[in-house]
C-alpha cells in the first residue's frame, strides 16, 4: 500500500480528476468566454470550485499551483543514489595556461590572476553534455543536461591549500533542447573564495565546442590581506555546490540537471571521525543530499519546464540526488547529512519524522551555508532556501528497525514564497525515507550530548566566528522591489552585462543593507565571493531571529518587509561578481546586480 491514508487517497483522486478535467478543457482550447458560458469561470477569470476544480487562477502553463499535474509515482521504491566522486586526471591536454587559450577553443576572456601564486596541484575535467537518466521507474527515461552527463554532477572533494583546476568542456548541443535548456554556459562554484574570472560570472559564458578552465586556489579568505600567508581559518567553508549560471538562462539549465556538489576538507574537518572535529567519516557516514522539486508532463511523462513562469516554479515531485522520493538505509549510529536546496524556487523546512507517533527526531545543526557555527545547535527542524546548504548530525544509535522520513512541512503554494504555515507532523511532504536496518558498525564520531557540556563556557567547538572589527569603508543599501512584474534594485532594472554598478576596493570591509520592498515575496539573496555575517535583522540582533542566522552565510533568506544589515570583506582578488536572488526564476528575469572588486573602489551608498 502506498504510504497515504484513505482520506488522502480520495483527495488525491479528486485532484487528479480535476486536473484531468482542466487538461481536457485546455486541450479543447475553449476560450475564456466559452468557459464563462459553461459556468466554469468567475468573471475574474478563475475556475470555480466545482468537482474539485480549484479557485486559483490558471498559470501560463494551464496549471494550478497547488494541484498535482505530474503523473503519479509510487514513493520510496528506489535507493537514494550517492554522489560519485570525480577522480583527478594526470594531466590536461592542452595544458592549462594563465592567458586564455583562445586558439585551442577556450571561451575564457580574462587571465588567471592567482595562477602563479597558487599553481594547481590537481586537475579535473568535466564534460557538460546530455544524458539519459531514470528519475523513477514509473516515469520514462529523461534527457538531462549534466556535468559528465549525470545529475547530480560528479562530486569534487578538495583540500584546503591544495589548489585545483577544473576544465569544463561544453559538449551540449547548439540546437535541440527538448523544450528547454540553453547550451551557452558558465559554471559557478557556490560559494568559493575564487578569483572572479573563475567564479562563473553570468556574462562569462562559453558555447558548445569551447572549454573554460576554472582555477580554484582553495585558500582561506585573507591569504593576501588580513592573514597573509595563511588566510583566516575562521573563514573555512566546507559544503559547496556548483551549477550553471548563464545570464537569463540559469533556471532552465540548472533544472535540466547542470548542478553538482563540492566539499572541502582541512585538518579539522577531515573526513575521518577519529581526527579533528571527529565528524562522521566520509563517504560512508557523511552523505550529501541534493533536494529539488520538479514537474513532469502528464501526457509524455517527461520533465517539463514552464518557460513563461516569472514567479517561481514549484514542482510536485520531490527528488533527492536525482531520484523521486527515494530510500536511504542507515546503520544505527551517527551520520552527517549535507542538505542542499538546489531549487528552482521552493523553500523547505525539514523535520525528521517518526511516523509511529508523528514525533520529531531532533538533530544537531552544524553549519550555515556549509560554514561551521561556533557550536552546533540542537533543533527539531531546519529551514533551507534555494542554494543554502545545512550540515546536520543525526544520531540513529539505538534505533535499529525504525523508519524515519525527512518531511518538509513548510507550506508553499506559489513562487512568491512560503505561506507561513508550518504543517502538522505527518501532513507535510515526505521526501526521503530512512530505514535503520544497516549493520551495526563502530562509531567513534563525536557525541555532542557529552562533548558540549565538557567544553568550558563560551569556548567554540568549531571555529570562532571571524571578528567584525575591521572598520567599514562604506555602507550600501540595496532595495529590492517589483514594479509591474519587473525586478528592480534601487529603482533600476538590470539584466545587463554592460552595467557594472559599483566597485568595492579590494580588502575593504563594507556593510550592505538589503531591503525587501517587493510586497508578498520572499527572496534568497546571494552574494558571491565571501561569506557575510549578519549584524541585524529589522534592527534586532540575528540570534533573536533564529540562532543560526548568527552564522556565516552566503544566502540571506529575505522575508516580507525585512531589512538585514550584512558585514562583508572583499579580500585578495579582483574582478566582476554578481549579487542576485537565488530563486532562479527571479534571477533570470533580472533580479541581479553586477559589481566588481578593484583597487580603486567607490563610495556610492545606493548603487
Amino acid at each position: 500500500m502506498a504510504n497515504i491514508s484513505k482520506r488522502n487517497r480520495k483527495r488525491e483522486k479528486d485532484r487528479e480528476i480535476a486536473a484531468k478535467n482542466r487538461r481536457e478543457l485546455i486541450a479543447e482550447r475553449f476560450t475564456r468566454r466559452d468557459l464563462l458560458k459553461m459556468g466554469l469561470l468567475t468573471s475574474a477569470g478563475m475556475l470555480i470550485p466545482k468537482m474539485g476544480l480549484s479557485a486559483r487562477p490558471l498559470t501560463s502553463a494551464g496549471f494550478v499551483n497547488n494541484t498535482p499535474q505530474s503523473p503519479p509515482t509510487t514513493p520510496f521504491v528506489e535507493d537514494m543514489p550517492r554522489m560519485q566522486v570525480l577522480p583527478p586526471v594526470a594531466s590536461l591536454t592542452p595544458a592549462p595556461t594563465i592567458v586564455p587559450n583562445t586558439a585551442a577553443g577556450e571561451g575564457r576572456t580574462v587571465a588567471h590572476q592567482a595562477f602563479a601564486q597558487f599553481p594547481p596541484r590537481k586537475f579535473y575535467e568535466m564534460i557538460q553534455q546530455p544524458g539519459q537518466v531514470s528519475m523513477h521507474p514509473q516515469l520514462p527515461v529523461q534527457t538531462i543536461w549534466g556535468f559528465n552527463g549525470i545529475t547530480p554532477g560528479p562530486m569534487i572533494v578538495a583540500n584546503y591549500n591544495e589548489p585545483i583546476l577544473v576544465r569544463q568542456r561544453n559538449n551540449l548541443p547548439q540546437v535541440g533542447n527538448n523544450g528547454f535548456g540553453f547550451g551557452s554556459v558558465t559554471t559557478h562554484l557556490h560559494n568559493g573564495h575564487t578569483p572572479p574570472e573563475s567564479d562563473g560570472f553570468p556574462c562569462f559564458f562559453f558555447t558548445p565546442g569551447q572549454f573554460y578552465d576554472y582555477h580554484y586556489p582553495i585558500v582561506y579568505a585573507g591569504i593576501n590581506s588580513t592573514h597573509p600567508g595563511t588566510g583566516d581559518i575562521r573563514e573555512a567553508m566546507h559544503t559547496l555546490w556548483y551549477h550553471d549560471h548563464r545570464i537569463e538562462h540559469t533556471a532552465e539549465n540548472t533544472y535540466k540537471g547542470l548542478a553538482g556538489t563540492f566539499i572541502q576538507f582541512n585538518e579539522f574537518d577531515t573526513g575521518n571521525e577519529n581526527t579533528g572535529f571527529k565528524l562522521p567519516s566520509f563517504p560512508d557516514f557523511d552523505i550529501y543530499m541534493m533536494f529539488n522539486d520538479k514537474v513532469f508532463d502528464s501526457q509524455t511523462g517527461l520533465l517539463a519546464f514552464d518557460q513563461f513562469n516569472l514567479d517561481g516554479i514549484l514542482g510536485d515531485k520531490f527528488l533527492v540526488n536525482g531520484k523521486v522520493q527515494p530510500v536511504l538505509h542507515v546503520s544505527p549510529r551517527r551520520y552527517r547529512f549535507r542538505w542542499l536546496d538546489s531549487g528552482p524556487s521552493r523553500f523547505y523546512q525539514f523535520f525528521i519524522l517518526d511516523p509511529t507517533n508523528n514525533s520529531n527526531l531532533p538533530f544537531w545543526q552544524l553549519t550555515t551555508d556549509g560554514n561551521f557555527m561556533e557550536r552546533p545547535v540542537k533543533v527539531n527542524s531546519c529551514r533551507i532556501a534555494v542554494a543554502q546548504r545545512q550540515d546536520v548530525l543525526v544520531d540513529f544509535t539505538g534505533k535499529q528497525g525504525k523508519t524515519y522520513y525527512i518531511e518538509n512541512r513548510l507550506e508553499q503554494t506559489d513562487g512568491r514564497g512560503p505561506t507561513g504555515t508550518v504543517l502538522p507532523a505527518g501532513q507535510g511532504t515526505k521526501i526521503l525515507k530512512i530505514v535503520v536496518d544497516g549493520p551495526v558498525v563502530a562509531d567513534t564520531s563525536v557525541n555532542f550530548d557529552t562533548a558540549l557540556p565538557a567544553l568550558p563556557p563560551g569556548q567554540p567547538y568549531f571555529y570562532q566566528f571571524p571578528d567584525t572589527n575591521q572598520p567599514v569603508a562604506v555602507t550600501r543599501t540595496f532595495r529590492f522591489e517589483r514594479n509591474n512584474g519587473q525586478w528592480a534594485v534601487n529603482g533600476k532594472f538590470a539584466g545587463d552585462c554592460n552595467d557594472i554598478r559599483f566597485a568595492v576596493k579590494r580588502n575593504n570591509a563594507e556593510k550592505w543593507i538589503i531591503q525587501n520592498n517587493s510586497g508578498g515575496w520572499q527572496h534568497p539573496i546571494h552574494i558571491h565571493f565571501e561569506e557575510f555575517q549578519t549584524l541585524s535583522v529589522n534592527g534586532q540582533p540575528p540570534s533573536a531571529v533564529e540562532p543560526i542566522v548568527r552564522g556565516r552565510q552566503d544566502v540571506f533568506r529575505l522575508e516580507h518587509n525585512q531589512q538585514a544589515v550584512l558585514y562583508f570583506r572583499f579580500r585578495d582578488f579582483v574582478g566582476k561578481l554578481p549579487m542576485h536572488c537565488h530563486n532562479v526564476v527571479h534571477e533570470d528575469h533580472a533580479m541581479m546586480v553586477l559589481w566588481q572588486i578593484n583597487d580603486v573602489g567607490d563610495t556610492n551608498p545606493n548603487p
Binding site: 500500500m1 502506498a2 487517497r9 488525491e12 485546455i26 476560450t31 475564456r32 466559452d34 475574474a44 477569470g45 478563475m46 487562477p57 498559470t59 501560463s60 503519479p72 520510496f76 521504491v77 528506489e78 571561451g107 576572456t109 521507474p137 514509473q138 516515469l139 520514462p140 527515461v141 547548439q174 533542447n177 527538448n178 523544450g179 551557452s184 556574462c203 562569462f204 559564458f205 562559453f206 537569463e248 538562462h249 508532463d297 501526457q299 509524455t300 511523462g301 517527461l302 518557460q307 513563461f308 513562469n309 516569472l310 514567479d311 513562487g415 514594479n483 509591474n484 512584474g485 519587473q486 532594472f493 538590470a494 539584466g495 545587463d496 552585462c497 554592460n498 557594472i500 528575469h589 578593484n598
Partner: protein, 228 residues
Amino acid sequence: MKSMNRRSMVALLGAAPLAGRLLTGTARAASQEDDAPPTKWRVVSSRQRFREVHFPDVVLTTHEGKKVRFYEDLMKDKIVVINFMYAKCEGVCPGITMNLRRVQKILGNRVGRDIFMYSFTLKPQLDTPAKLAEYAEMHGAGPGWLFMTGKPADMELLRRKLGYTNPDPALDKDVTQHIGNVRYGNEALEWWGACPGLAHASAIAQSILWLDWPKGYNRPGKESVNEK
C-alpha cells in the same frame, strides 16, 4: 507484508510503465485504489507539446487591420519580441514602448524580416485597430512591429498562456499593475527569455540577438564596456 512485496516488485520491474499492471491477484485490489500510471506515454515533439500548452491559435487583428492567427502567422519559425500594453496606459507602457522603439532601432532592418515585435493589448474593448494604429504612430513604431487586439476572451487567454499574470489575484485583476516584462524567443529552437521592459535597450537587443542562431548565439560573451 503484502505492500512490501508489491513495492519491491515495482522496483524489480524497473522502468516499465506497465509495472502497475503486472501484479499478482492479491495485490491488484490495492493497486486499483492508487492511481496506476498510464500504460502508454504520448510521443510528441517538445515543440508541438509546448505549442499545445502555450500557443492558442486564436485570430487577432493587427493595427493595420489585418487578421492573423497567433501561432501560424505570428509565432511559427520566428524570432519574436512580445509585450502587453494598452493605449491609455499612463504607467509603465509609454516608457516600455519608447524603450522598445530604441530596441527596434538597434535591431535595424531585421525587424520584419526574421525578428518580429508584437504588442498585445490588455484592453481589447477599447483598443480598436484604429486606436492601436494611432498609438503605433505616436511612438514611431517602425515596420515589423505589430500592435494587436482580438476578442476579449482570446486576449485574456493569451495573457495567461504567455505568463503575463500576477500570482496575487487582486493585483492580477488590476490592469495598471500589469506585467511590464518583454519576452523574446526563437520559436523553432525553443529558446525563451524575458527581462524588464524598462531595462537598457542595448541589453534587451543583446538578449534577443543571443537567440539568433548561429551568429548571435556564438558571439563571444564578454560584452562589457568596463572590461579592464
